[in-house]
Amino acid sequence: MLEAILSIGGIGLTAAVALGLAAKKFAVEVDPRELAVLEALPGANCGACGFPGCGGFAKALVEGKANPNACTPGGQATVERIAHILGVAATAADPQVAVVLCQGDNPRAALKYRYLGMADCNAAQRIAEGPKQCPGGCLGLGSCVRACPFSAIEITGEGLAVISRELCTGCTRCVAACPRGVIRMTPLAATVHVLCNSHDKGAQVRKYCAVGCIACHICAKTVPGAYVVEDFLARVDYEHRDQAGAAVEKCPTHCIRDFAQGYPPGSSFAAPTVPVAGKSAA
C-alpha cells in the first residue's frame, strides 16, 4: 500500500515539478479579453463558426478577424455579451434582411444572348454585361447563394434568387457578391417591396420584362408618401412602410409584392408565418 502511494505520488510530484518549470519557460501572454470571450462562448467546440474550437474563435474575435454572430449556437445573448466585452456595437435594433429586388425569372424577363459558361453571376456579367436584357435584373446564376453562410438564398427552377426572410441574418454578404446590385438591405418589418431594379424608361422595360416597374406613378398616387419614383423606378419609402400595402393590387405590372402574402412564384420558402407589427391581418 505504502509503495503504491509513494510511487504514484512520486510520479505525480516529478511531473508537477517538471510542468511547473516548463510553464515558466514557455509562458505565453494571452489577451485577458480572449479569456473573457472564451468564457462567454458556449464551449461546445462545435466548429460551426469555422474556427478550430471556441478557443480559436475567441482569438479571432479579439483580433477582429471574426464576427460575433458567427456563433450560431450561442444565439443573440452570446453575441451581445461578446460585443460588450470587445466594445463593439451589438447588432442594430432594427433588424435588416436582404431582398432581391427582381421577379424577372426566365419566363418573364427576356435574354440578351445565349450564355454558355461558368454558372456565376460575376463571371457572366463580364461578358457583354450579362445575358439578361434588363441591366439590373437578377441573373440567377447563384453567386449570392454561394456567398450566403446561412443557406438563406435559393435559386428557383426558373432562375431567380429568392432570400428567406426567416433564415437571413442580415450579414450583407450577398449584397457584396451581386454584380448587378439587385439585392438590398431592408428593414425586416417592411414586407412590401417594389421588386424591380431597372432604371430604363417604361417603354424600354416593357420590351424585356413582364413584371418590371414602368414608372407609371400609380403606386405613388394611390398611397402618397409611401412610394418614391426616381429615375424611372419606384421604391417603397421604408419610413412609411405601413401604408405601402395598399398599392400592391394597383400595380399594373405586378412588380410590387407583399412578402407577408408569399414569396415570388417558384420559391420553395413558405410565406412568413409571423404577423408583422403594424400590418393588419389580411
Binding site: 509503495e3 510520479i11 511531473a15 510542468l19 474556427f51 478550430p52 478557443g55
Partner: protein, 193 residues
C-alpha cells in the same frame, strides 16, 4: 535488426493504430480537415507516443513490477501521458501559435487519446525490450501520422466534390475512412504479429 524492422512495419502499416486497430479515431476525424494541421498533429502525437512509451516502460519495469503494483498501471500511465501532453501543449503554444490554434481542443485531447495509452499498454503486454518498445512507438506514431495525413489529403479533395447533402461533413468522412481502412487491409499478413 530484422526483428526491429518488422516491429516497425507491423506497427506502422499492418497493424496501423488508426486503420487496423481503430485506436485514436477522435483526432483522426477531428484534425484531418487540412494537411498542414494533420501533419502538426502527427508530430505532436509522435512526440507524445515516443516519450510516453519510454517513460511508461521505465515506470513499469522499475517501479510497478518491483513493487508488485501492476494494478496501478492505467493510473500511472495516464498520469505520465497527461503531463506530457501538458508539456507539448505549452511548447506548441509558445513556438507555433498557428498550429496551436488549428489543433484547438484536439491537442489537450491527446491525453485521452486511446492510441497513446494503447501503445504504452501494448508494448508492455507484448513484453518488448526497451529498444523494441521505442521502435514500436515510433512505428505506431509514423503509422498514425501517415494515416492522418493521407486522410487529410482525401478530405481536402472531397471538400471540392459535389457530395450529396445527406453525406456532407462527417458522414462522407467516415465513408472515406472506411475505404482507406479497406485499402490498408492489403498490408494484412505482410508481417505476422
Amino acid at each position: 535488426m530484422t526483428e526491429l524492422f518488422l516491429i516497425f512495419i507491423s506497427a506502422a502499416f499492418v497493424n496501423n493504430f488508426v486503420l487496423a486497430r481503430f485506436l485514436g479515431i477522435c483526432p483522426f476525424m477531428g484534425v484531418s480537415k487540412k494537411v498542414e494541421t494533420a501533419l502538426g498533429m502527427g508530430m505532436a502525437v509522435t512526440f507524445v507516443m515516443t516519450v510516453a512509451t519510454v517513460t511508461t516502460w521505465f515506470i513499469q519495469y522499475f517501479i510497478l513490477t518491483p513493487f508488485n503494483i501492476e494494478y496501478l498501471q492505467t493510473i500511472a500511465f495516464i498520469l505520465v501521458i497527461a503531463s506530457l501532453v501538458q508539456l507539448v501543449e505549452m511548447v506548441i503554444q509558445k513556438t507555433s501559435p498557428v498550429l496551436y490554434q488549428s489543433l484547438g481542443i484536439f491537442l489537450p485531447l491527446i491525453t485521452t487519446n486511446c492510441a497513446v495509452l494503447g501503445l504504452a499498454v501494448l508494448s508492455i503486454q507484448k513484453g518488448y525490450s526497451f529498444l523494441e518498445a521505442v521502435v514500436f512507438a515510433i512505428g505506431a506514431a509514423a503509422g498514425f501520422t501517415l494515416a492522418l495525413v493521407l486522410f487529410a489529403g482525401l478530405r481536402e479533395r472531397v471538400e471540392l466534390s459535389a457530395v450529396p447533402r445527406a453525406f456532407q461533413g462527417a458522414a462522407i468522412g467516415f465513408v472515406t475512412a472506411g475505404l482507406l481502412a479497406l485499402a490498408f487491409m492489403g498490408f494484412a499478413g505482410l508481417v505476422k504479429g
